[in-house]
C-alpha cells in the first residue's frame, strides 16, 4: 500500500510537471556530459604526460643499430653513454634525470597503447632506443643542456617536450576548462530549475500536503514523492550523459582520433568508467540536495 501510493504519486508528479522535469533532465544531461568530457580530457592529458613526460622534460635518445643520425655509428658504446651522462650531471639547468633501457621503453610502450594497436607496431625491445630523461630546473632555460648534448657522440636525437607538447597540452587544457566552465553555468541553471520544479509541485499539491500534515503523515512520507522525482530525473540525466560520453568515446576516440593521431596513447574503458562514476554521483547530488533543502522550506515538514 505504501509503495503503491508512492509509485502512483511519483507517476502523477512526473506527468503533472512534465515540461519542468524535461527541462531539468535536459540541462542535467548537457551539464553532466560536459563534466564527463572535462574529466575524460583530464585523463587524456594525464595519459599523454605519462607517455611523454611533463613540459619540463627533454629526452635524449641514444643511438641504436638503425639510428640514422650523423652522431651515430651503430649502437651507443658504454664509454659514450658515460660521457653523455657526465655532461647531463654537470649541467646547471638539469634538476634531475634518469635513464631508460630499451626493455623499459618497450614495456612502457606496450602498457600505454591498446593491445590491438600495439600489435600493429613494428616493435621489439631491440628496435627501441635507450634514453636519458632530463627534468629541467626551469622550463624556459633549456638551450644550454640541449646544445651541450646534441653534438655528443652516441646521441641520436634530442626531443624537446615543450615544442611538441605545448600546443597539445594547451588544446586539451582549453577544452577541459571550457567544458567545465560551461558545465558550471549549466549546473547553476539546473539547480534553479530543480528549485522551481519543487516549488510548482509543492504548490500544486498544497491541499493534499496540508491534509497529510493534519492527519499526522510523517515528514519522510510527505517528501518521499519529491525525493523520488528528483532521483528519477537525475537518473535519466545520468543515463543520457553516459550515452553521450560513450558515443564520444566510440566515435570521437576509438574510431576517430585514435586512427588519425597514433603517436599518442588514448583513453579507453577505465577512464570512461571513472568519468561515468563521477557523473553518476554528481547527477543525483544536484537534484536531491536542493530537494531536501526546499522540501523543508516549502512543505514545512
Amino acid at each position: 500500500m505504501q509503495l503503491r501510493y508512492v509509485l502512483s504519486e511519483l507517476r502523477q508528479g512526473l506527468r503533472r510537471n512534465l515540461s519542468m522535469h524535461l527541462a531539468v533532465i535536459l540541462t542535467l544531461f548537457v551539464s553532466l556530459t560536459l563534466v564527463g568530457l572535462g574529466l575524460l580530457l583530464n585523463s587524456q592529458a594525464q595519459r599523454a604526460e605519462e607517455h611523454w613526460g611533463s613540459q619540463l622534460q627533454i629526452t635524449v635518445f641514444l643511438c641504436n643499430e638503425t639510428a640514422t643520425s650523423p652522431n651515430c655509428t651503430g649502437e651507443v658504446t658504454p664509454a659514450q653513454k658515460d660521457a653523455i651522462i657526465n655532461v647531463v650531471q654537470e649541467n646547471p639547468e638539469v634538476a634531475d634525470f634518469h635513464t631508460e633501457s630499451k626493455k623499459e621503453a618497450f614495456e612502457k610502450t606496450k602498457e600505454l597503447f591498446s593491445e590491438e594497436y600495439f600489435a600493429r607496431l613494428p616493435t621489439s625491445p631491440s628496435s627501441m632506443k635507450e634514453s636519458v630523461w632530463i627534468e629541467l630546473e626551469n622550463a624556459e632555460r633549456y638551450q644550454g643542456i640541449r646544445s651541450a648534448v646534441e653534438g655528443l657522440d652516441g646521441v641520436s636525437n634530442v626531443r624537446d617536450q615543450r615544442a611538441v607538447l605545448k600546443p597539445i597540452y594547451a588544446a586539451i587544457d582549453a577544452l577541459k576548462f571550457g567544458a567545465i566552465g560551461i558545465a558550471a553555468f549549466l549546473i547553476f541553471a539546473a539547480l534553479l530549475l530543480v528549485a522551481n520544479t519543487i516549488r510548482l509541485a509543492a504548490f500544486a499539491r498544497r491541499r493534499e500536503i496540508g491534509i497529510m500534515r493534519l492527519v499526522g503523515a510523517s515528514s519522510l512520507y510527505i517528501s518521499l514523492p519529491f525525493l523520488l522525482e528528483a532521483l528519477v530525473t537525475a537518473l535519466v540525466g545520468v543515463v543520457l550523459a553516459g550515452g553521450a560520453l560513450a558515443a564520444f568515446m566510440y566515435f570521437g576516440v576509438a574510431e576517430g582520433m585514435q586512427g588519425q593521431i597514433n603517436f599518442m596513447p588514448w583513453i579507453g574503458l577505465p577512464e570512461y568508467l571513472a568519468a561515468l562514476g563521477a557523473v553518476a554521483l554528481l547527477g543525483p547530488l544536484l537534484t536531491i540536495f536542493p530537494t531536501l533543502v526546499l522540501t523543508r522550506k516549502y512543505l514545512k515538514v
Binding site: R207, R213, L214
Partner: protein, 229 residues
C-alpha cells in the same frame, strides 16, 4: 486530556497577543464550546493543541505530554491522536468520498485490510452509506462536512477539534452535524468546537469557554452562548 497553563501566544509582528495567560483544563470525554468575537483567539487556541504553533510562553499538555517540548519528528504521532474539522471542509476534490476518508489512513501507513474495514464503517456512522463513490462537488455542504468528519474520526482519535464546523451550513443541516459530533463525543472522544452559532450552543448545553481579546472571560459548565447572570 488537554491542559493550558498560563499560555500566551503572540504572532510575530502583531502588537497584541492572540492569547494571553490562558489556563484551561479539559477532561477526557468532555464536550467544550469555544465562543467569542472574531479575532478573540479561538482558532489560535485550537492550533496550539495541534502544535501548528508553539506558545510564546506557558505550557500546553495533550494526553499528559507537554507538547511544546515535543521534538519535531514526534508531532505527526501527536496529530494521529487528534481529528480536525474546518469550516471549509478541506476535501480533495479529485478523490471520491471513500478515497478522501481512506487517504487519512493511507498516509499514516495503515494496512490495507484495516482501511477497507474502517472506511465503510465510518461512512455509515456519519450517514453517508451508498455515497462513497461520489466526488465532493456532487455532495451538499452538509454531506461534505460529514465526509470531513469521517476523515477526522476514521482513525478513532482521542480528541476531535472542530473550528466552526457549521459556519457554512444552514440551521437544519447544522443540527444534523451537531448530532453527529455529539454521537462521536459519546464514544469517549473529547470534542472541542469553536463556534459563532448561538442557537447550537444554547441547545446543546455543554461546557462553554468564552474568549475575549485572548483572555478567558467565562468558563461555564452547561452554558449558553451569551452572558448569563
Amino acid at each position: 486530556m488537554i491542559r493550558f497553563e498560563k499560555v500566551t501566544k503572540a504572532y510575530p509582528g502583531q502588537a497584541r497577543s492572540a492569547l494571553e495567560q490562558v489556563s484551561v483544563d479539559v477532561e477526557k470525554g468532555e464536550f467544550v464550546f469555544l465562543v467569542g468575537a472574531s479575532g478573540s483567539g479561538k482558532s489560535t487556541f485550537l492550533r496550539l493543541i495541534l502544535r501548528e504553533y508553539r506558545p510564546s510562553s506557558g505550557r500546553v499538555y495533550v494526553a499528559g505530554k507537554e507538547i511544546n517540548r515535543l521534538a519535531g519528528w514526534k508531532v505527526p504521532r501527536l496529530r494521529r491522536q487528534i481529528g480536525t474539522v474546518f469550516q471549509d471542509f478541506r476535501l480533495l476534490q479529485n478523490k471520491t468520498v471513500t478515497e478522501n476518508v481512506a487517504f487519512a489512513l493511507q498516509v499514516i501507513g495503515k494496512p490495507k485490510a484495516q482501511v477497507e474495514s474502517l472506511v465503510p464503517e465510518t461512512l455509515e456512522m456519519v450517514g453517508l452509506e451508498g455515497k462513497g463513490d461520489r466526488l465532493p462537488d456532487e455532495l451538499s455542504g452538509g454531506e461534505q462536512q460529514r465526509v470531513a468528519i469521517a476523515r477526522a474520526f476514521v482513525n478513532r482519535p482521542m480528541i476531535l477539534i472542530a473550528d466552526e464546523p457549521t459556519g457554512n451550513l444552514d440551521p437544519n443541516t447544522s443540527v444534523g452535524i451537531m448530532k453527529l459530533l455529539d454521537r462521536i463525543n459519546r464514544t469517549g472522544t473529547t470534542v472541542l468546537m469553536a463556534t459563532h452559532d448561538a442557537g447550537i450552543v444554547d441547545q446543546m448545553r455543554k461546557r462553554v469557554i468564552e474568549l475575549e481579546d485572548g483572555h478567558v472571560v467565562r468558563d461555564q459548565a452547561r452554558g449558553i452562548y451569551g452572558y448569563q447572570n
